[in-house]
Symmetry: C2
Subunit: 326 residues, 2 copies
């Protein structure tokens, strides 16, 4: 059967039937726009993310269901990073005609799984044809008015925390490149393919006003930490020995390579947040099995330094992902 835009939209409708009203969606796919009824006493969080073949994923390396999962999960991670809850999303999808069958079907399986897991309903979007797969996702989230945790709230003296293990997704990408798609039961590969936005942690930190600032780690600690510090007009000092590096069982990495992975590896979608010293005792070692680790502190002096295991201080240089310089 000939593919048309109407047929493609019909397939997308198939994953948007569940729980629309509960998600605040009063009008979903099929009109000029979608309608969302905001909850009283809440601000709406809006964030969008590119996910492009050749830049953010490779068609011969990444299974289509992982492309579907990840395009939504990474956008939802931005909502988690503000302490909000996702409600619904718009999907802009461009793809070649020969992928509108099986590839699209598996992409939608992954996207649907993510939509259910993350409690975020497909409410609309736009589709067109292109030689390569282009995805853009806009997530609509909510947070109680004035409770959003911003990048700009860090104060000198605040303690700097990260969730999870850093560099794990990058390690997963390296393993995927060398071993191929067959080994998806590897935890690092799973983290690279199916990242988990830290929603429960984000809302806990926001609702209890524990974090003074927060962001998610998408490009790597060395690239993301400067953004938080710039927004807050502060500096930071982190200790290499305290950074929770991904477990590299089987990899023959020397300490320098491991540190490089933790500082510069992207795609982890862990949370980076700051806490006033007086509230630091409220931070557990693990939140719902997710380790939380103090890695340094915020400084008045607007410099970024890291202290090596030999106690020498060095300037932290951005080594993570920048689409225009990498």
């Amino acid at each position: 059967m000939k593919t048309s835009e109407a047929n493609l939209i019909r397939k997308l409708r198939g994953i948007s039937t569940r729980g629309d009203r509960a998600a605040g969606v009063t009008l979903g796919i099929g009109d000029d726009g979608a309608l969302f009824r905001p909850s009283r006493g809440h601000e709406t969080i809006l964030t969008c993310d590119w996910f492009l073949e050749g830049t953010h994923f490779l068609r011969d390396l990444h299974p289509p269901d992982a492309v579907g999962w990840k395009c939504l999960a990474r956008a939802v991670s931005d909502v988690a990073a503000m302490g909000g809850r996702p409600r619904c999303f718009l999907l802009s999808l461009a793809l070649p005609t020969n992928l509108t069958g099986r590839w699209l079907g598996q992409f939608l399986v992954g996207l649907h799984r993510a939509a259910i897991k993350l409690d975020c309903s497909l409410m609309g979007g736009d589709t067109t044809r292109q030689a390569r797969v282009l995805v853009n996702v806009t997530v609509i989230g909510e947070v109680r008015t004035k409770r959003a945790v911003l990048r700009s709230g860090a104060h000198p003296g605040d303690i700097l925390y990260v969730s999870g293990h850093l560099g794990e997704a990058d390690l997963g990408l390296q393993r995927l490149r060398s071993q191929g798609r067959t080994t998806t039961n590897d935890a690092a590969i799973r983290k690279h393919l199916y990242p988990q936005p830290r929603l429960a942690l984000g809302t806990w930190l926001a609702d209890r006003r524990i974090a003074t600032s927060m962001m998610d780690l998408s490009d790597g600690l060395s690239s993301d930490l400067p953004r938080l510090c710039e927004a807050s007009h502060v500096g930071a000092r982190i200790e290499a020995a305290r950074i929770p590096v991904a477990e590299c069982v089987g990899e023959k990495l020397n300490p320098g390579q491991r540190l490089d992975l933790a500082l510069n590896g992207g795609d982890d979608y862990e949370l980076l947040f700051t806490v006033r010293p007086a509230k630091a005792r409220r931070i557990p070692r693990a939140f719902q099995d997710l380790p939380l680790t103090a890695i340094g502190e915020i400084t008045r002096q607007r410099q970024l330094t890291w202290v090596g295991t030999d106690s020498r201080q060095q300037t932290l240089l951005p080594g993570g992902w920048d689409p225009f310089t990498t």
Copy 2:
């Protein structure tokens, strides 16, 4: 100076300084997401639109400021088509490094002009590098709760109206292709390059509950009318002689070619709407200098027919733009 994502974001910030609070934006560019404070008693309209080099515009034909204007204007048109007002937008932009200078500067001039004219503030977005220019715009609008005019509200007997002249933008594209960029004082070319969303008409029809259904004409009447009819579970009968065709001064078009332009020409962004006969007397011949024309009526029988000047009825076949079949 080396381009980086941070530099690009700095340029984008330059056009987002004005009137953010008035637009409901409580947090703009620079954090994980943007924050929007919805107006009480309103629903939020969300719509997104691709605008891709090679598909929706050509770099050697379309001036960069027109690309900037049109990517926002066509997305805002979807808000007009529901009777809403635009508030703010997210811009996802991917482009080659060699276009981050002058091309981007002119693109932003056009985008900024549209943002001011349409009262729609840039609140955030995402940027990355690509070999071709990719744009995706998400517009956030508002409409009083339950006042949105949907595609699904047409009833048998309703009178079908269009605003403006149809086929004008398509004619503009044809002239632009044959004459080149130099003739932008031509009204048809201006309509193709700098479309005007019919916001004032849309809100007038919605606020006074005059229209029973509405949509904008983006792909052409013959492709868009079936969508309205399908959503409303109705058919329609239109009269060829009544369709307000673009003035083709200088073009040697026969009546058949003129009708083809009006039925199948895309990119007009005029409004197509239905009105109950009892309210039809409230529709002026022109609304703020924009002609409003009754072109036919909604029928219970779910067929689409058009009546020629010779009074013969024919089936209306979609001849407008479909990315997967054109």
